[in-house]
Subunit: 211 residues, 2 copies
DNA sequence: GTCTATACACTGATAGAC
DNA sequence: GTCTATCAGTGTATAGAC
């Protein structure tokens, strides 16, 4: 499996192993939950002895915390589309596209985040109260401005944001249910496009950003 | 705590205890996940010795399975509004109201379901493939008929249903995040009404069911 | 830095007195 | 039916050889 030629530099070796462990951990945490995941299984998936995990990450929780942080960063980057946009149709449309693409490419990360929040965010509550709170308030102001400029209906910004998060992340978090209802097959490229189109149509039309 | 006068009948006693255990289990499973939940903690919450749980429910998994089934039944009942409705605005509007109310009253149940599906439904996959599949196909036909009758836009029924589930259940599954962004307080009655209004406005207008 | 062996705590489940 | 005591198995984490 992992017999590609490895770098000799200690620093690079460390980075490689950490990346390997984080990828394995994201997968295992997403499939089994924090409590159900075991360091042994993560080690097996990463192709390393269990003790090495404790060398790179002192505890199970510290490893978990880094996994959650990574996803949060990815989502924050998708927010750029929001700020640069000239109006709601463009900005929110691009945000939906970006979040849907993340659901498709990083479903495991999305699940880990969902699980963490569902369990009352025991590990990343500080992020919710600081970074996420500030981000949300900033985006709410933009939406309020669009409303004031009569470029969309008078919608409560927070409930609109919740709907955007809920709808896009549903395709990752409940991907297994969607796959089952799709006859047991993952969504094809065309079906993903149809999903994006449906979501954008309903929401952009629903807030009065397009006709 | 649980010192209310107990019925003497064995059958009633059994029902009482099972109900007590199921309520405690729903709470603990929702807060800790299947792997993180312990029979000891469920017993403590229920106010019973741990061994009694194994008397009523032979294994941890059998107890968990019953918890998941209960939530599923509650959701199925909310579907009645869909069938009896005369058109999309009425039917889908009532469905949103019903699902939002369930999110408010049974957040723990919703979380247990979400967690189960996120982990690829190891315990209730059969339900997804039979009951849920049939339910979805039936509702999709109703939506297709409404589209054919030009009472709403030509929306893909499945993606519309996913959006309905995602949006309404988000208020239960991500309730902690919403509470945090609400300044640490649970949504008030008025805020719940505002949530319902926003969701109905966006979706009903988004699918062209109202002006 | 890596890995084997192991310490120590805890979990699900059960036996058996009441 | 109820509950105490306990077992066998597994989990996280670490000590120490290499």
């Amino acid at each position: 499996m992992h017999d590609a030629p490895r770098s000799n530099s200690k620093r690079e070796r460390r980075q490689e192993n950490e990346k390997l462990i984080l990828a394995a951990a994201e997968k295992v945490f997403s499939e089994a939950g924090f409590g159900g995941a075991t360091m042994q299984l993560i080690a097996d998936v990463a192709g390393l002895p269990k003790a090495n995990l404790h060398y790179y990450f002192p505890t199970k929780e510290s490893l978990y915390r880094q996994v959650v942080q990574r996803i949060f960063q990815i989502w924050l980057q998708a927010a750029d589309t929001f700020d640069k946009a000239e109006g709601p149709a463009e900005g929110i449309g691009a945000y939906i596209d970006a979040k849907m693409e993340i659901s498709r490419r990083h479903p495991a990360g999305s699940k880990v985040w969902a699980s963490e929040v569902m369990h009352r965010a025991p590990v990343i509550q500080d992020y919710l109260e600081t970074t996420l709170m500030e981000w949300t308030e900033g985006r709410a102001k933009i939406i309020d401005r669009w409303v004031a400029e009569e470029r969309m209906d008078a919608i409560d910004p927070n409930h609109l944001l919740y709907m955007l998060w809920a709808t896009t992340q549903h395709y990752a978090d409940f991907g297994h249910q969607i796959e089952t209802l799709n006859g047991g097959s993952p969504l094809t490229d065309d079906q993903w496009e149809a999903a994006k189109t449906s979501v954008k149509h309903i929401i952009l039309r629903g807030i009065g950003a397009i006709k």
